[in-house]
């Protein structure tokens, strides 16, 4: 088993004919992901790496009714529309890679998807991988190996770093989710944790947080309240970042005195979580708990 994504995923790539869409379609196919269709308005009838392209999700789903997952590489101005199209076409999981989407647009489509029962990962995220089963994202597949550890991460590149460090030590992963760095995102730490809690294959969890926001504190609270019962190891990026400065597009920023490194680490440690000082300590800490 795995969470949200396994070998039964049948994937549509929205924005498949673009540079990134096409490149990552190839990598996902090579990884073994079952991509059944692509969608780009006006490009219907083409194929990309052997995948048939349609003008609309409606047509794609009509020809490939088994499709249940989509990944979006559409530029920011058109990405919200692509999300609505995916949700309305009945996708159960939609991964939004696109960055720079206006935050009020994200606010709306995230609430819309929730009403319709679709899980959104992202936007501005690397996606999701269940090693050995399927990859719906842009992470380097070879970095991850099948195994018992779940990873939920606010940071893209750092996820690869940590997955790589674990894999090198022979510790594989059940599912790895990069939830995205924007202020408003579809799937939060705690929501993702609910899935991992129910997954018998996952024996431990790595949380990769960042300064800013209060998702790490909420995760700590969930653990403290006994709603997440598996061992957790965490890493928080931005220990040495100065307050009030925005670090990158992602919006890792400490505002109004909340979201500090110290506050997050204290909350997590109080909940019994071991917090690594560098990403490279994580394999050792994981070995201690499983």
């Amino acid at each position: 088993m795995a969470v949200l994504l396994d070998e039964n995923a049948r994937v549509i790539v929205q924005g498949i004919t673009g540079r990134e869409g096409s490149f990552h379609t190839k990598l996902m196919l090579e990884y073994g992901t079952k991509i059944v269709a692509g969608v780009t308005p006006g490009k219907g009838g083409q194929t990309v790496h052997g995948v048939p392209v349609y003008d609309t999700m409606e047509e794609a789903v009509k020809e490939h009714p088994e499709a249940n997952t989509s990944i979006i590489f559409v530029p920011a101005r058109f990405a919200p529309d692509a999300v609505y199209e995916a949700v309305d076409a009945g996708m159960k999981l939609v991964v939004v890679i696109t960055e720079h989407i206006p935050v009020h647009e994200t606010l709306k489509f995230v609430n819309y998807a929730k009403q319709k029962g679709t899980v959104i990962i992202g936007p501005n995220c690397p996606g999701i991988i269940s090693p050995g089963k399927a990859k719906v994202g842009i992470m380097p597949g070879a970095t991850f190996k099948p195994g018992p550890v779940g990873i939920i991460s606010r940071s893209g590149t750092l996820t690869y770093e940590i997955g790589y460090a674990l894999s090198k030590e022979g510790i594989g992963q059940s599912t790895v989710i990069g939830i995205g760095g924007d202020p408003i995102i579809g799937l939060s730490f705690t929501e993702a944790m609910e899935y991992f809690e129910k997954d018998p294959e996952t024996k431990a969890l790595v949380l990769v947080g960042e300064i800013g926001g209060d998702m790490e504190e909420r995760a700590a609270k969930m653990i403290e309240e006994g709603k997440f019962t598996k061992p957790v190891v965490a890493f928080i990026a931005g220990r040495t970042a100065p307050p009030g400065k925005r670090m990158g597009h992602a919006g890792a920023i400490i505002m109004m005195g909340t979201g500090t490194y110290k506050g997050k680490v204290e909350a997590l440690e109080k909940a019994g979580v071991k917090v690594a000082k560098t990403p490279f300590e994580i394999p050792e800490l994981i070995k201690e708990v499983i």
């Binding site: 935050v103 750092l158 220990r239 670090m247 990158g248």
Partner: protein, 378 residues
């Protein structure tokens, strides 16, 4: 992007909010003539239009009781930097006598994924102070983004901060306008503090708005970067932003480039951990081209605080070969570079990248700990 006070007030005024009568003064303007045109007489408040936080405490807001005062204060403010920033415009506003100062703001609640209204009857202090000193006074109300702020919610908030009758109606109307401004301008924050209660009417004495950077393309009327005026950025940060680089100046000596905010911050943390000090944060983001990498490397070579450079790349959507090409190009173009450069390359196309670097005679690490130790000992 932060809006100036006068811009935020202008937006609110267009939404039907009564704002103080005012006039905008540029250097060289005759403030008294401008005031007369606008029908303004002392006492007035003269306010430096700068985007730095704590403008009032830093001396950027002055009361002028006489025409003489006005001249002196205008002269003073145009020549005095507020936290390092000399204002390009001053706002002269009628002084509005009032007893009560309220607080009202709209921000995005990340957990609920909804806008949330914050209000308190204790305005004048900033929200951190209110949270500390009168936490129970802060009223919170989430808003359904599809429905918008309902009238009854606006009234309920007003009631909870102690208003009634016509003052309550005026406050509810103000909140409705503030919410309209918040959504129409794709704001991350819309705030009035203090929001004065004058008789039965609320009047925003100050107003702040931060527009989502990703939405600026939808607001051409405000979409010019005001980097210099903002006071948020140092000279090198402004230079970097104009080049499209996500750069933050720090105080150490090791220049840092990473891909992704998380990895770049972690690279800073690692440098600290092993006894070094980062000179900056520079995130080349996801899927950077060779051209962008070249720009970033060239920038750090010129940036004087960086005595050495540490490039830490774990490729995902970013490809190692593109990164390598960018580095090689930067070094080729700049010719004789005396700053030591340490590169760590892993992930997508890392092997191809390393080959390119090797061919150009540049060594690259796979292990970041080895790499960081190397750069510190150099």
């Amino acid at each position: 992007m932060k809006l100036f006070e006068y811009e935020a007030k202008h937006i609110l005024s267009q939404k039907g909010v009564k704002i103080p009568r005012s006039v905008l003064i540029a250097p060289g303007d005759d403030p008294l003539a401008k005031m007369e045109e606008a029908g303004l007489k002392p006492p007035v408040v003269v306010k430096a239009q700068v985007l730095v936080a704590g403008r009032g405490k830093a001396g950027g807001i002055k009361m002028a009781k006489t025409e003489e005062d006005v001249k002196n204060i205008v002269n003073e403010l145009f020549n005095k930097p507020i936290k390092g920033i000399v204002p390009k415009l001053l706002l002269i506003e009628e002084a509005i006598p009032h007893e009560t100062e309220l607080y009202a703001a709209i921000v995005l609640d990340r957990s609920e994924r909804k806008p949330v209204i914050l209000a308190s009857k204790y305005g004048g202090m900033d929200i951190e102070e209110i949270s500390r000193e009168k936490p129970e006074s802060i009223v919170r109300q989430h808003v359904d983004p599809f429905i918008g702020l309902k009238g009854y919610q606006a009234r309920l908030i007003g009631k909870k901060i102690g208003l009634s009758g016509k003052a309550l109606a005026s406050f509810a109307k103000f909140l409705t306008a503030l919410y309209e401004a918040f959504t129409e301008y794709d704001a991350e924050l819309a705030e009035s503090n203090p929001l004065a209660l004058v008789g039965d009417e609320v009047i925003p004495l100050d107003a702040r708005m931060i527009v989502d950077d990703n939405s600026l393309y939808r607001h051409p009327e405000i979409a010019k970067e005001r980097l210099e005026e903002s006071g948020e950025y140092t000279e090198w940060e402004i230079k970097a932003r104009k080049m499209g680089l996500g750069f933050v100046e720090l105080d150490g000596e090791i220049g840092i480039i990473g891909n992704g905010a998380g990895l770049t911050m972690t690279t800073m943390d690692l440098v600290y951990e092993f006894g070094g000090k980062p000179a900056n944060f520079l995130d080349i983001g996801g899927g950077a081209s060779a051209e962008l990498v070249k720009k970033a490397v060239s920038f750090l070579i010129e940036y004087p605080k960086a005595k050495k450079i540490f490039i830490n790349i774990f490729g995902g959507i970013t490809r190692g070969d593109e990164v390598a090409k960018g580095i090689v190009k930067a070094l080729e173009e700049l010719g004789d570079v005396s700053k030591p450069i340490v590169i760590r390359l892993a992930g997508t196309k890392a092997e191809e990248g390393k080959k390119i670097l090797e061919e150009a005679g540049i060594a690259a690490f796979t292990d970041p700990i080895e790499a960081v130790k190397k750069v510190i000992e150099m």
